[in-house]
């Protein structure tokens, strides 16, 4: 499936060339098959393996994102869409953004 993944608030520094926007084609199902349900859980695992180039502990903690990271599916907090179990559809936009503290 085609997904647009965006990283911000400093998370982009964990990716190659600090690129913020990634248009990807992936099967974020639990077993990587085409048939299964694509979930956020599967996507996190895919992102960790395929996009994160350094310090994965700055992105993942346990099987979720680390504290201080907001996850948005189509501009909506993933907590409102099912969190790790949220199902993804073709062309969804998923944003990972680290909260800022400066001022």
């Amino acid at each position: 499936m085609h997904l647009t993944l965006e990283f911000g608030g400093g998370l982009e520094l964990l990716l190659e060339k600090s690129t913020k926007v990634h248009k990807v084609d992936c099967q974020p199902t639990m077993d990587g098959s085409e048939g299964g349900k694509a979930t956020m859980k599967g996507l996190l695992s895919w992102v960790k393996s395929n996009l994160i180039k350094e310090r994965p502990e700055m992105f993942i903690k346990g099987d979720s994102v680390r504290p201080g990271v907001l996850v948005l599916i189509n501009d909506c907090d993933w907590e409102l869409c099912g969190g790790l179990d949220a199902e993804l559809e073709d062309k969804d936009v998923v944003v990972f953004i680290s909260t800022l503290h400066g001022g």
Binding site: G8, G9, G10, K20, R55, E57, M58, R66, P67, G68, V69, L70, L72, D75, C76, D77, E79, L80, V95, I97, S98, T99, L100, H101, G102, G103
Partner: protein, 287 residues
């Protein structure tokens, strides 16, 4: 306190005429502003436009709290401070600048760092709190304090070329702990002094904070409750996203919260976040 009732005084009508002409704002909006009190925590990059615009627009009482002094390397973004104030109190500098543009409002200078020991006493006096600080432990502390005292919190942040903005604990919106029950790892706590910030980015976010404070004070428009604004200066993109509401299981604002003012006063926010409240380190630049 500042406008008793009925018609506005003639000098106010002239000064604020461009507000009074607004159908959605008008005399009633201006009167509500003049009766409101707003506390700005931090007279830095965010606090500069917040304080200037809130003073200019005519809030009744504007409190500013900051324990730091003005440094030359603040001036690239903290437009409220003049070179002549370098080495002097930020609160005094900011209050003097606000008085110079509007002598008709009441300015209160709190020349301390906001801490659990003094926060309740200070915040209690105000209707609305603006978080314009620069560090994580203070952000948790202000949010907890606003929940305990039931004050709306206009929270902004800026770092590098990005900014974020939302209104906490108002109209069902979450508190900071609802969104971030656990603090991030220390390595994720970048500050302006570590990572830099383009001066005008806190300018944009600070102006938007002043706007949200005005909307909450006057009950005009839809404040950013349950929504967060994400600003990316480099690409000139702004996203306004829907975020979760107040969590019933939040340890601070949730239904079963047992967090008290006494506990607040003893809570060690620096230990909780493993991060210091003050941000006085000088960056080490090798150019």
């Amino acid at each position: 306190e500042f406008v008793e009732s009925g018609a506005l005084p003639a000098d106010m009508i002239y000064r604020y005429s461009r507000h009074l002409l607004l159908p959605d704002f008008g005399v009633e909006g201006q009167r509500k502003l003049s009766r409101s009190s707003v506390l700005v925590v931090g007279a830095g990059g965010l606090g500069s436009p917040v304080a200037l615009y809130l003073a200019a627009c005519g809030v009744g009482v504007l409190g500013i709290v900051d324990g730091d002094d003005v440094e030359l390397n603040n001036l690239h973004r903290q437009i409220i401070h003049k070179e002549a104030y370098v080495g002097r109190s930020k609160v005094k500098s900011a209050a003097d600048a606000c008085r110079a543009i509007n002598s008709s409002i009441k300015l209160v200078e709190h020349h301390h760092t906001l801490k659990p020991s003094n926060a309740l006493e200070i915040v209690r006096k105000y209707d609305i709190v603006v978080d314009a600080t620069d560090n994580l432990p203070t952000r948790y502390m202000i949010s907890d304090c606003c929940v305990l005292l039931n004050k709306p919190l206009i929270s902004g942040a800026a770092l590098g070329l990005e900014g974020q903005l939302t209104v906490y604990h108002h109209n069902g919106s979450p508190c900071y702990r609802c969104l971030f029950p656990n603090p991030p790892p220390v390595a994720a706590c970048q500050r302006c002094s570590d990572s830099g910030v383009l001066g005008v980015v806190p300018g944009v976010i600070g102006c938007l904070q002043a706007l949200e404070a005005i909307k909450v004070a006057t009950d005009v428009g839809e404040p950013l409750c349950g929504r967060m604004l994400l600003f990316d200066a480099l690409s000139a993109r702004i996203r306004i996203v829907k975020i979760r509401g107040s969590s019933p299981v939040c340890t601070i604002c949730g239904e079963k919260s047992v967090f008290t003012q006494e506990e607040f006063q003893k809570f060690d926010y620096e230990k909780f976040t493993e991060s210091p409240m003050s941000d006085k380190s000088t960056p080490s630049l090798s150019l």
